[in-house]
Amino acid sequence: MIRSITKQKPFEEVIRLLRDMERVFLIGCGTCTTMTHTGGQAEVLAMRKKLAEAGKRVTGFMVIPVACDNLTEEALQENLPAMREAQALLIMTCAFGVQTISRFLDIPVIPALDTLFIGKESGLGLYQEICTQCGECILGETGGICPVTSCHKGLVNGPCGGTNDGKCEVDRNKDCAWTLIYERLQKQGRVSIMRKFQPAKNYQVEPKPGKILLPLERSEG
């Protein structure tokens, strides 16, 4: 399952963002930030304690099951009085959650987390970005490994000269995406597709910010 991967902002930054705001309501998320231990129940409670120690008054807290879901609007209703009492909502969800919540309430929102990427857990506590939603999928010609995402430079025509023994020049512990692609294609006997020239990418497949109206009916055939 894909997850929004976050990390907590330094507490000093949280305090700076909450300057002149004495009363705070805390919101966590029961999905991604619970799994990454950045904004689940335990982290929300720890934040409450730290804020109290820093002289803030926490008017209440809640952990919304899926903060980015539209049901968040209803979930917020339960705690409206305590939220209204606060001068800011300190939000321990990813930026999807922060923006969803801010759509439904006119109380200032302050993110307590930085959203790093959309990724998945590939090992215990290890999260990786594997797709950057570029809108022009070339996985069919790269052995199912995305170089747009997995190559530091997003190269689509093979490795750069910075690769060394299968590792990347930016980090000796990072695999070179093109070495992985090469090895996988070799196993499949399809190395020759690496020879195909990939033209310059179209960065306006879906003009930023992405917004698309999809047909409501199922397509036939």
């Binding site: 997003g154 190269l155 025509n157 000269g161 020049e169 093109w178 033209p199 310059a200 960065y203």
Partner: protein
């Protein structure tokens, strides 16, 4: 006026290129000094483009200076810092200022340099930049629009013959050839046996290959490169040779090694020429050439006593 790089490449002569690293700042005195010292001793001079992702005086500025001083510049262009619009615009500017040779590179990654929080671009890669040049020569830009005036470039690229695994690098080399590269300057080579086998392969392609010669200045520097620079492998024998040099004589030994390699490459006719990189030590390139027994024919020699 220097002969054009393309003309020299086609002449069948053993081609000598070297490189100039622009300054960190606007004081171009030293760069100018290096250009003046080298422009008549080599066939062409590359100008590095924010080398190692360190922000510097631009390669285009250095190339214009070489042109003005009567040398033959090779403009290095990486895809790291400019999108396709800026790259094409700079190519137009370069051509209009008499710069007709370009070396297309992907560019080092931003985090290895001195502006670690900068946004890296890589809108194009080296192969796509080569193709863009050939497209512009046909009178169109990458947006499909007509260009006023005609550009024509001698376009080259780089290859890393000592990379492991080497096959993906060779496939990229072939892609660069298909995209229009007419010459290659290799990453530093030290192991001539390995380079020979690369050349056995590369000879099949209609391109000129200049072997990359990076001056070793000490055993410590050689070890550092082995550990930190991808695609560079200095054999232990050379490291030992550098280490055996008397105190203060390591640079001299490095010049001797570089000269010896060039001499051997030329004697064997291994490839079409050499590209000498004396990173930060441009002033010793003439000594390397002397050690290699190379003196350019048919070119004005630099002032005696210089």
């Amino acid at each position: 006026m220097a002969r054009s790089l393309r003309e020299v490449l086609r002449s069948g002569e053993f081609v000598i290129t070297s490189e100039i690293g622009p300054p960190k700042g606007c004081d171009i005195t030293k760069m100018k000094y290096h250009i003046e010292g080298l422009k008549d001793k080599v066939h062409a001079l590359n100008v590095t483009d924010n080398q190692s992702s360190v922000m510097r005086y631009p390669s285009l500025g250095g190339a214009i200076l070489i042109q003005e001083l009567g040398g033959e510049p090779i403009l290095q262009m990486t895809c790291r810092d400019r999108n396709r619009m800026a790259l094409q615009g700079d190519l137009l500017l370069a051509y209009s200022r008499g710069i007709h040779s370009v070396l297309c590179l992907t560019g080092d990654a931003v985090p290895v340099g001195d502006h670690k929080s900068a946004k890296s671009v890589f809108d194009l890669d080296s192969t796509q930049l080569l193709r863009a040049i050939r497209l512009m020569e046909s009178g169109k830009d990458l947006g499909g629009n007509d260009l006023e005036g005609k550009v024509e470039f001698c376009a080259g690229a780089i290859v890393t013959p000592e990379a492991r695994p080497v096959e993906p690098q060779l496939m990229k080399f072939e892609k660069k050839v298909e995209c229009g590269a007419e010459f290659f300057q290799t990453q530093a080579i030290y192991d001539l046996d390995n380079f020979r086998s690369f050349m056995d392969y590369a000879r099949k392609f209609p391109v000129k290959i200049l072997a990359g010669i990076v001056l070793l200045t000490s055993a410590k520097m050689a070890k550092y490169m082995n550990e930190n620079v991808p695609g560079i492998f200095v054999p232990q024998m050379l490291i030992d040779e550098l280490a055996s040099a008397p105190k203060g004589q390591a640079l001299k030994k490095g010049i001797e090694i570089a000269g010896r390699m060039i001499r051997q490459i030329k004697a064997e006719g291994l490839c079409d020429g050499v590209h000498i990189m004396a990173i930060g030590r441009e002033e010793v390139v003439p000594e390397i050439l002397q050690a290699a027994g190379i003196q350019l024919d048919g070119r004005k020699q630099s002032n005696p006593g210089e």
